[in-house]
């Protein structure tokens, strides 16, 4: 007896097991932007709650009105301008020194042996120590805050850049050597673009560390700037004044981090997805 096998189309299962699109929440509710906004609102609500419970903790509205007052009297803009100027000078010098040291450490074993441990010590010293030391060295004025920014930012730039240089594909160096490409051109077209991502990561850490440094330095040894103004209200025992400036620092750092650095990084890494015209959305790893 022969059995006849029939090939029937696979059964599609009962309706109970049917695969349907999952009913999802609306996109706007689950997006990263929504999550971020929720975190801001939650923070504000928590703040309001704490302010209601403790009278030594000013409410968001009180802080805002205090800041408006500082703006109206011109203190916010003038002090912020002074600090930003010092911070900018310090960061620029720190990035230049850090990139040079990082390239040396990443490229030469001798330089690594000589500089690496010094840099680790630099990383380990907190910004407050540099702020105190710089104030004792240079007294009141612009120099102490600038030097504090440099000293607290350089180790972060150095360590990241050195890591970036070590990660450069050695085959590209070999190619450059085989074609006899001069060192200056190699630096400009091979090393610097290759470490750009690491420099951005470095600047991000350095901005955080440097900002800490400048606030502390102005707190201890300046007669102008946002750190000094925060201390002014602290000494006057005016809680809303002190916290208003703290909130201002936080908002400023968030804006720098989310806005400025992110946008520059995005532009610099167009080549990663090979999109020369920049017509598609660029996937950039956040640095």
């Amino acid at each position: 007896m022969t059995t006849v096998q029939t090939h029937s189309p696979p059964t599609t299962g009962s309706p109970d097991h049917a695969i349907r699109p999952r009913r999802a929440l609306p996109r706007w509710l689950t997006s990263p932007l929504a999550a971020r906004l929720t975190s801001y609102v939650a923070g504000l609500l928590l703040w309001q709650l704490v302010a209601t419970i403790f009278d030594r903790f000013p409410a968001p509205l009180e802080i805002t009105s205090f800041l408006v007052g500082e703006v109206a009297e011109g203190h916010l803009v003038s002090n912020f301008a002074v600090t930003l100027n010092r911070f900018g000078q310090g960061m620029l010098i720190a990035v230049v020194i850090g990139v040079i040291l990082g390239i040396l450490i990443g490229s030469y074993r001798g330089a690594e042996a000589f500089l690496n441990d010094i840099n680790v010590v630099g990383l380990a010293i907190p910004a407050v120590i540099w702020a105190l030391l710089a104030t004792m060295w240079f007294g009141f004025g612009d120099r102490a805050p600038i030097v504090t920014v440099i000293l607290s930012a350089v180790p972060f730039v150095t360590v990241n850049v050195a890591q970036g240089v070590r990660a450069i594909d050695p085959r590209l160096g070999h190619m450059s050597a085989a074609f006899g490409v001069p060192a200056s051109r190699r630096l400009r077209h091979l090393t610097l673009p290759a470490i750009a991502g690491y420099v951005f990561a470095a600047i991000r850490f350095a901005v955080m560390s440097g900002w800490n440094g400048i606030l502390l330095s102005e707190w201890f040894g300046a007669t102008s700037g946002v750190g000094w103004r925060a201390r002014y209200w602290y000494d006057a025992n005016r809680m809303p004044g002190f916290l208003a400036w703290v909130v201002f620092f936080i908002v400023f750092m968030l804006l720098v981090d989310r806005g400025g650095l992110g946008a520059i990084a995005k532009r610099s890494f167009r080549w990663r997805d090979g999109d020369a015209a920049g017509t598609t959305d660029i996937v950039t790893e956040r640095v």
Binding site: R171, L172, H174, M175, S176, A177, A178, F179, G180, V181, R185, H189, L190, P193, A194, A196, R270, W271, R272, D273, G274, D275, A276
Partner: protein
């Protein structure tokens, strides 16, 4: 144009156990405008030899001299992988290795891109091109420096058979037009027969085994009977070499 003389060359890489001999007392000469292939099993020192000739590595003993009619020899190098700077456009990658950056140089680079079939790709980034196109760019880059000596290290080994065949044909055309002195490393005997004037066979241990002149007419194709016959003959010699090795072991 250049004549290459390799004289009693030896290269030893230091290892924990004393040293690994990559090239052992190798001497031969490459005539001006000659296409020479280096053939041999993996680890017989082909790439090391190329790196020494390019000046990237130093020999442990012996000497390589490149006579380029009185001036310092200009060297072009095509690698196994394209080795393009990913953050520079194709044209900028070509300019990266040039001595000058004037209009004539840019024009020359564009010409070589056109010769390898990459017209219109000047402003693209490497990631926007296929593997075959990137390798073409690598070949154009090497030719565009107008080298006295062109070094090629298994340039088609990472490509699929069809792309490799088309690039080989392109390379042969380009070489017939320019007649550069070429050192071409390959493990593919057919490729060596198709392209070379002379085949240098290196044996395991980095020793020179044999020099085989190839006098077949050009342009050659892999499907030509004479090419296939010579390939079979050389493979036969390889088998003998392996048998001798087994006997001595």
């Amino acid at each position: 144009m250049a004549t290459v003389t390799i004289d009693k060359l030896r290269k030893v890489f230091p290892t924990a156990t004393g040293g690994h001999v990559a090239i052992d007392d190798v001497s031969f000469e490459i005539a001006d405008r000659q296409f020479t292939s280096l053939v041999g099993p993996s680890g017989c020192g082909k790439t090391t030899l190329l790196n020494i000739v390019s000046g990237v590595e130093c020999p442990s003993a012996g000497e390589v001299s490149i006579d380029a009619e009185g001036h310092q020899a200009r060297i072009g190098y095509v690698f196994q992988e394209p080795r393009l700077l990913p953050w520079r456009s194709i044209l900028d990658n070509m300019l990266y290795v040039q001595r000058t950056r004037d209009d004539a140089t840019v024009e020359r680079c564009r010409n070589y891109l056109e010769l390898v079939g990459l017209r219109g790709a000047e402003d693209k980034y490497p990631a926007q091109l296929s593997g075959g196109m990137q390798q073409r760019a690598g070949i154009a880059r090497a030719f565009s420096v107008e080298p006295d000596l062109l070094l090629m290290d298994e340039p088609f080994s990472h490509l699929d058979a069809i792309t490799a065949r088309s690039l080989r044909a392109h390379l042969q055309e380009l070489w017939l037009e320019t007649r550069k002195t070429v050192m071409f490393v390959t493990h593919d005997v057919m490729e060596a027969v198709e392209l070379s004037d002379e085949i240098v066979v290196l044996a395991p241990g980095g020793r020179l085994h044999e020099l085989i002149p190839v006098t077949l007419e050009r342009p050659r194709r892999a499907s030509d009977v004479a090419v296939a016959r010579l390939k079979a003959d050389i493979l036969g010699r390889f088998e003998q070499l392996e048998q001798q090795k087994m006997v001595t072991q």
